[in-house]
Amino acid sequence: MDLGQVGKIIDKYQEKRTALISILHDIQDRYEYLPEEALRKVASRLQMDLNDIYGVATFYKSFSLVPQGKHFITLCLGTACHVRGGPKILREVKKLLNIEPGQTTADKQISLNVVNCLGVCAIGPVMFVDGKFYGEMNPVKAKRMIDKINKNRRKSGVRS
């Protein structure tokens, strides 16, 4: 893995320890997770204990220590989405993908996450798929969406 970007990110924040969370955010944005080697590099450049960095990286939900799939499905389980049937969707999605929230399918294609609120409450239940919000979801629409991701994948697989 090319960790060249990590050094640049740390430079951008002038090795400030107080910028740790911002640095981790940037690394996560770049690599879509926090690679162990990257965290070691942050620890040495910021002259911090790796344990402390690990503490921060595991405390905040935005960070992931394992690589993510090609596609992201984030399901909102905020109160408004909950009362409108969010949990039913989660049950369905879990069964379809055969994974728990926070995990990635064995073929490294789809990662499933749940969040406590995406702040799009008026049109709940909301699903955030590959950077796009989808409102008024239900188990059937969720199934269709996953079918679509799988279908496109197969198609692109044929082409490549």
Partner: protein, 617 residues
């Protein structure tokens, strides 16, 4: 961009902006809030831009991508000024028609207008729509008028005028007494008097003082802060600069949730523009006062909405709260006096400075002044952000603005205050909404989430939802919160699984009391509220689960079963088609059957059945 060095520069700039805006005959505003984004507003905007660019006759039209207008459920929303036409649920394909008919010919397109649910009358202007009619949109109102990425739009609506007034016509002490006199209380939840907080921070000894804007907005079901920072970031910034001048602050932070990428971006743009214009940074408006703001991103931890945890997070540490024996106004960020207010609180400040404390305190109730933005969501017809004067009744919000129940299921409660609040039963809907009334009935104002619940919502399930939410979000520092919530969750789980007993409820209440009394921070102290209020007002639902092994709302899966009424089933096959687990069998035009052992109890069959043959018990 020009650099503003004095009050007269600012005035001149405003005049220029206004005269330039006058050249536009017509303004098309496409709502760019996150809700509208989900419905495809970007495509709508792009289509407008494409046609306008091509068509020479449309050069006088200004296309604006504004902030959230609140009526998210009806998105994408497009308005046309000066006629004041309000189009809802606009799709890409409607765009050519809007341009050719409405813009060029002045014809109103009936099919894009809002239809009044009761009178069935088509409504042309925003003001006549019941959702907007009873609102008092002081803080939110400008969202629909400006492009949040254009500082000139904000200047055009008298932006930064309050700042210039504060810097050149008022002393810091005067500003503080004005805020105190206005009666403004913190919009983040606790309702602490803002002026008092400012005064304490100003009086705290120290050369360096920090100003923080809390846009962590962790409360599930609330999104007004997001909408303000996304839609009108300069109003928040202006409030912060005025606050910094009054308190003596030199640096500020806007703490934004990482889940709000658009809010982060728009705040960043606003800061850069304000800095370039000389409204932020060194020697603001030539007054000699300097103040700068940075963005700090949160990492998706609910507890970071708590002031001391938020400060720990800005310092780059794990977001654990500390004991507040010494308040943050005396020792906050990096041990320095720190004044932290919520987004909505900051956005109110320029209004008070411009219009005066007397005007502000004329709105609202005796102890809760001004307006409050609520996110009216859940099982209600009109969902979105509503801004109302304090003291308005819940009934008015839910039925007049919200339009009442969504379908045949009656509304039975509203949940306010997020995970720290409680469920208020429909019998108390005449309650005026203000800080103190809501606390009295066992809930709280919180940041303004208002989640409506109907007969299809199980209160045991809601109580469990909040306990699990808080258990997950507990930072784990203190034992009562960490362990107590876990045990409360287990008791609620057992009730939902049909394994509850008579002792479950008394044990739950006892635990709730201990958690509330002995937790370190606000998260734990208020955590039992949703459970206690549900037990207080909806005890019979808990008892049904325990004694009859029955969930009256038909939500708790271990206690329910779906089946098809043979007599009502017409054999259309719609249910079998949507069933994600293929649990429905039956020949065409013959009565269908649900195989209980395969059924995942998702309810999709019930949603599609046109003859109401699917029942749940």
């Amino acid at each position: 961009m020009r650099r503003i060095k004095s009050v007269s520069d600012l005035e001149k700039w405003r005049e220029d902006v206004l005269s330039r805006q006058k050249q536009h005959g017509l303004v098309i505003s496409v709502c760019g809030g996150t809700g509208c984004h989900a419905y495809g507003c970007k495509k709508v905007r792009d289509k407008f831009a494409k046609i306008i660019k091509k068509n020479g006759d449309l050069q006088k039209v200004r296309l604006k991508f504004t902030g959230c207008r609140g009526f998210c459920e009806r998105g994408p929303i497009v308005t046309i000024q000066p006629q004041g036409i309000f189009y809802q649920r606009v799709q890409e394909k409607d765009v050519p028609l809007i341009l050719s008919e409405t813009v060029e010919e002045g014809e109103v397109l009936e099919h894009l207008l809002y239809e009044d649910a009761i009178t069935k009358r088509k409504v042309t202007s925003e003001k006549e729509i019941p959702f907007y009619k009873a609102q008092h949109r002081l803080v939110m109102g400008n969202n629909g008028l400006i492009n949040p990425k254009e500082i000139e739009d904000y200047i055009g609506i008298s932006g930064y005028q309050a700042l210039s007034k504060a810097l050149f016509e008022m002393k810091p002490e005067q500003i503080i007494s004005e805020i105190k006199a206005s009666g403004l209380r913190g919009r983040g939840g606790a309702g602490f008097p803002t002026g008092k907080k400012w005064e304490d921070c100003r009086n705290a000894p120290g050369d360096i003082k920090y100003i923080i804007c809390n846009c962590d907005e962790g409360d599930p079901g609330a999104y007004m802060d997001r909408s303000l920072v996304e839609g009108n970031p300069h109003s928040v910034l202006e409030g912060m600069i005025i606050g910094a001048y009054a308190i003596g602050g030199s640096n500020g932070y806007i703490y934004v949730r990482h889940e709000y990428p658009l809010a982060c971006k728009n705040a960043e743009v606003a800061i850069t523009q304000a800095r370039k214009a000389g409204l932020l940074g060194k020697n603001i408006l030539g007054s000699g006062f300097s103040f700068d703001v940075e963005i700090a991103k949160g990492g998706g931890a609910f507890v970071c909405g708590e002031s001391t945890a938020l400060i720990a997070s800005i310092e780059g540490r794990v977001g654990e709260p500390r004991s507040k024996q010494i308040h943050t106004v005396a020792r906050g960020l990096w041990g320095k006096p720190t004044n932290l207010n919520n987004v909505e609180t900051w956005a109110n400040v320029p209004l008070i400075i411009n219009e005066g404390s007397q005007w502000f305190s004329s709105i609202g109730t005796e102890k809760s002044k001004g307006t409050k933005i609520f996110s009216l969501v859940g099982k209600v017809k009109n969902t979105g952000l509503v801004e109302v004067p304090m003291g308005i009744t819940l009934k008015k919000i839910i039925f007049d603005i919200g339009g009442g129940q969504q379908d045949e299921k009656r509304i039975k409660a509203v949940q306010t205050g997020g995970p720290s609040g409680g469920c208020i039963p429909a019998s108390l809907f005449d309650l005026p909404v203000d800080f103190d009334s809501l606390t009295q009935v066992g809930s709280m104002m919180g940041s303004g989430g208002m989640i409506v619940m109907d007969e299809g919502t199980c209160m045991v399930d809601v109580a469990r939802y909040f306990v699990h939410f808080l258990q997950e979000e507990s930072c784990g520092k203190c034992l009562p919160c960490r362990e107590g919530l876990k045990r409360m969750g287990e008791i609620l789980d057992s009730i939902i699984e049909g394994k509850g007993s008579e002792e479950s409820l008394s044990l739950l209440e006892e635990l709730a009391e201990v958690v509330a009394d002995t937790s370190l921070c606000g998260l734990g102290k208020t955590a039992p509220n949703p459970v206690l209020s549900a037990l207080k007002y909806f005890r019979s639902e808990f008892e049904d689960h325990i004694h009859q092994r029955r969930c009256p709302a038909a939500v708790c899966t271990p206690l329910i079963q779906y089946s098809i009424l043979e007599a009502d089933c017409v054999g259309c096959g719609a249910c079998a088609k949507v069933c994600p687990t293929q649990a429905i069998k039956g020949e065409k035009k013959q009565s269908h059957l649900i195989l209980a052992e395969i059924c995942s109890k998702c309810g999709s069959c019930k949603d599609v059945c046109k003859s109401n043959a699917v029942t749940v018990q």
